[in-house]
């Protein structure tokens, strides 16, 4: 079994799976249950200054389902901890003392003035916590009070607050980023400029999960009204993966440690985040859906994968980053055609409907419901592969260099050719 012991900013944990700052990490009771189940660490639910906030007293979660009520995404309008600061600090201290091998990071959100941060940081330090995470992401409630995403959406504020924290504590500082911005690289660069030790992302995505078509209110509904919440779970994973990759490959933030968050549900999701540069991952929705027991699948799965690949955990981190590039550098000589395996085809015709109606009319429907690719029309868009209900029934096969592409009438070129040198590109550089 591969060793999953993880070290992130010098914070050790028996595995790279932390519970994200969220309802599962709001109390000693929950966190102890998580540690007993085997979680590597937690980011304690965000603390604020007293008087503590209050939450709504109606539903605070909305949901998007897939088939069989499978939870694809949850949105929440919960705020930061609604318990007194002293209670949380006492419990954090107790848990860290009882579970010294687990990572204990404390999420913080206080008003945007240096004194507030200067006040709370020593209190947290006193608990023996391993680090702090600055909640610059919460998109609802707190942002209206000038905190959370209101800070995370202004790079200058991020830099300023990060600097205060580095000044007033010896603990490692992680800046948690909001995805509710146009370009994730700017807040990440600001965090680094402010001296932050790492970024964690993504926080939740501003969202309305659904509208009640009888009462005409957004869900979750509070007395006939609703408000946008923060969306999380498997549905946001692709957004998170891209943002993690952008930071991992950006010249100004390359090497900045990243804690990956956003829809991690199985070991595979975690491995993908880590391959794109995350040093560890944080999990919330999967735990909220299935309970803490999933940690056994996450750890066993990641371990088995690493064993199969003959890799150490550290080998995985960033392994896919060099392969994330800009569109303009994609090889235009990589020409593929869809191939349908007639033996595994179940003749549903979805590839045909998709191609005929919405793509390039590159699949022929022949007598007996036989579906065949017309190479002269196939642009290799992959839609047929995506909609086919049978795994590996339709695949994309590469045309070898030197063969004729019947669609273009051109011979597939050897070597690499991309948009930067393409004759249609007005900005193209002359080939040397």
């Amino acid at each position: 079994m591969a060793n999953l012991a993880s070290e992130f900013l010098g914070i050790r944990s028996p595995n790279p799976f932390w519970l994200a700052s969220a309802p599962p990490t709001d109390k000693e009771y929950n966190v102890v249950r998580a540690f007993r189940a085997g979680w590597g660490g937690v980011v304690w639910k965000t603390l604020g200054l007293d008087p503590h906030v209050v939450n709504v007293n109606g539903p605070r979660y909305g949901v998007v389902y897939g088939a069989d009520r499978r939870v694809l995404g949850i949105n929440n309008i919960e705020l930061i901890t609604d318990r007194p600061l002293e209670v949380n600090l006492r419990e954090i201290k107790a848990v860290k003392r009882a579970w010294p091998d687990r990572a204990m990071v404390v999420s913080l959100m206080v008003p945007c003035d240096e004194d507030s941060w200067k006040t709370i940081l020593p209190l947290v330090e006193d608990t023996g916590a391993d680090g702090i995470e600055l909640n610059f992401g919460c998109p609802h409630g707190m942002s209206e009070r000038g905190m959370g995403a209101a800070v995370g959406q202004v790079p200058e504020y991020i830099e300023m607050v990060a600097r205060w924290c580095k000044k007033h504590t010896r603990m490692p500082v992680i800046v948690k980023l909001t995805p509710n911005i146009t370009d994730i690289r700017f807040p990440a660069r600001a965090a680094r400029a402010g001296g932050a030790d790492a970024v964690s992302l993504i926080n939740t995505v501003s969202s309305i999960t659904s509208v009640n078509l009888d009462s005409f209110s957004p869900e979750p509904m509070i007395d006939g009204k609703g408000t946008h919440g923060g969306y999380c779970g498997p549905a946001v994973k692709p957004i998170a993966l891209n943002m993690v990759a952008e930071i991992a490959r950006d010249a100004e933030t390359r090497g900045l440690p990243i804690s990956g968050i956003g829809g991690v549900t199985t070991w595979r999701d975690a491995a993908e985040f880590m391959a794109l540069g995350a040093g560890n991952v944080q999990v919330c929705t999967a735990a909220m859906t299935y309970g803490f027991g999933i940690i056994k699948e996450l750890t066993a799965g990641l371990s088995l994968y690493l064993d199969d690949k003959g890799m150490a955990l550290s080998d995985l981190v960033g392994r896919a980053v060099p392969n994330v590039t800009d569109w303009q550098y994609l090889n235009l000589n990589y020409v593929t055609k869809a191939r349908i395996d007639q033996d595994s085809c179940i003749k549903c015709g979805r590839c045909y409907a998709a191609c005929e109606d919405t793509s390039h009319q590159a699949i022929a429907m022949k007598p007996g419901r036989v579906f065949e690719v017309i190479d002269a029309e196939c642009v290799a868009c992959n839609l047929c592969v995506d909609v086919c209900p049978v795994e590996d029934c339709i695949t994309m096969e590469r045309l070898a260099p030197g063969t004729l592409d019947p669609r273009t009438g051109q011979v597939v070129g050897d070597g690499h050719a991309d948009w930067t040198t393409h004759p249609n590109n007005p900005m193209s550089r002359a080939a040397e």
């Binding site: 088939a67 549903c348 015709g349």
Partner: protein, 443 residues
């Protein structure tokens, strides 16, 4: 109290509660969540094979998608547009040989989308909501006679009424519904559904049903033609094939269709007598229904004996497996030779047969099965064609959408040649004849 071992033909072989349980709904209604889960398995195939396999050509992927989208009543409308008896067909169709047999997931995994049960979810939801989804067109002043209130006649009548014609349905029996009411195993359509469905169908208006009116007995084709602008014949098959075995008139030997009809009309099945040793002769759905229901009533031994090989059984493999699971012994390649007994039947003698290129031949070996009750289920026949209608293979000959050899007379359902003898086929033929009649009447 009787037991399964009590000799003779007696009632109450099982406790009333056990009998009630045995005859409960074989495929209970899917609830909303079950339906959505089942609906999610549909691939929404292009030019879907299930639609092609449905005699009424219901747009199955569409109605399943409508269930998935939370609108079972819209789904029901999609079904009823093609098949006004969609509620009954959802219960009695041999889906394993029709839509579900053609489902690509049947080919891929041996587990088709549960189309029949999804259809029932949709149609039951709409019917439970009350009302009727169709309105009549402006009255045309035309009158059409429909003979037989079975699936063909009802489908024809409804479509004609929808087009604004006035319809009189002449039904030989006391109740409308045809085989949906008098045939078909009780556990497939419990709770008086056949009558509920007819009542719901009639809500469109413009349809009068006259019961106790048999053609050839109470009415004639000539009389109907004289009084109506068109006639549709859908009276099914009134005759039953004879066994042609010695002793077939002994006590305890009866037609399976009569037994099933009596069973269907018996409210308390614990008073319905059944034999200890029941022998059913035949290989079709009627034989299966008689055999299985005998077993469910408490018969100790039930054998279903078919003269040809297993590959020739007209009941589907699914139905045969169902019978075997119920405890029916299915014997093939055995032809009845004689019914033995002294007054009442005591044994049936069979000759083993083999299928040869020249037809069925006895092997020379025989065997006897103990029997105190014998059901004959070897096919039904048209009890004489009314008027001088042309006949084809013992059934009314039709061309196109049910046109008979006599102008102004259409026919459909089991009484006509062509198509399988299924409720769904009868509905399709009745519906299509109605459209043809409508076209003729408004030309």
């Amino acid at each position: 109290m009787s037991t399964p071992q009590t000799p003779g033909i007696v009632a109450g072989r099982l406790a009333p509660a056990t009998i009630a349980e045995n005859f409960a709904d074989i495929h209970p209604l899917l609830d909303a969540h079950e339906a959505r889960v089942a609906a999610d398995r549909c691939y929404f195939c292009h030019d879907a094979p299930c639609v092609t396999a449905c005699p009424t050509e219901i747009d199955i992927p569409l109605f399943i998608r409508q269930i998935q989208a939370g609108q079972p009543q819209a789904a029901a409308r999609t079904i009823f547009d093609q098949n006004i008896l969609g509620g009954m067909c959802a219960r009695v169709c041999p889906t394993e040989t029709l839509c579900e047999g053609a489902c690509v997931r049947e080919a891929a995994e041996g587990k088709p989308v549960e189309i029949g049960r999804l259809q029932r979810h949709a149609t039951d939801t709409l019917m439970a909501a009350g009302g009727h989804p169709y309105a009549r067109a402006e009255p045309t002043g035309k009158r059409v006679a429909v003979v037989g209130a079975g699936p063909a006649g009802l489908a024809c009548a409804h479509r004609l009424a929808m087009h604004g014609h006035d319809v009189v349905v002449y039904e030989a029996r006391e109740k409308p519904g045809g085989l949906d009411e008098y045939g078909i195993a009780a556990y497939k359509t419990p709770g008086g559904f056949a009558q509920d469905e007819v009542a719901w169908l009639l809500r469109i208006g413009g349809i009068e049903i006259r019961t106790g009116q048999a053609i050839g007995r109470d009415i004639t084709l000539e009389g109907l033609r004289a009084e109506h602008d068109a006639v549709f014949l859908g009276m099914g098959l009134g005759g039953v094939n004879a066994l042609r075995a010695e002793g077939e008139d002994r006590d305890g030997v009866r037609d399976a269709v009569d037994f099933i009809a009596e069973l269907r009309q018996t409210d308390d099945l614990s008073v319905l007598p059944v034999g200890r040793h029941v022998v059913v002769i035949g290989g079709g759905m009627t034989a299966v229904d008689a055999a299985v229901q005998s077993k469910l009533l408490g018969a100790e031994h039930v054998a279903m004996v078919y003269r040809r090989g297993p590959g020739r059984l007209s009941a589907s493999a699914h139905e045969i497996a169902h019978a075997q699971t119920a405890g029916v012994r299915v014997i093939t390649n055995a032809s009845p030779v004689a019914v033995h007994g002294n007054g009442a039947v005591r044994e049936v003698e069979f000759a083993y047969t083999e299928d040869t290129p020249d037809g069925l031949r006895p092997t020379g070996q025989t065997f006897r099965l103990p029997a105190d009750q014998v059901f004959k289920a070897i096919g039904q026949t048209l009890d004489g064609a009314p008027g001088d209608l042309e006949v084809d293979g013992g059934k009314i000959a039709v061309t196109g959408a049910g046109r008979t050899s006599v102008p102004g007379v259409w026919a459909g359902g089991d009484c006509t040649a062509g198509g399988e003898d299924l409720t769904v086929t009868a509905v399709a033929q009745g519906r299509d004849a109605a459209e043809d009649i409508h076209a003729a009447l408004t030309a």
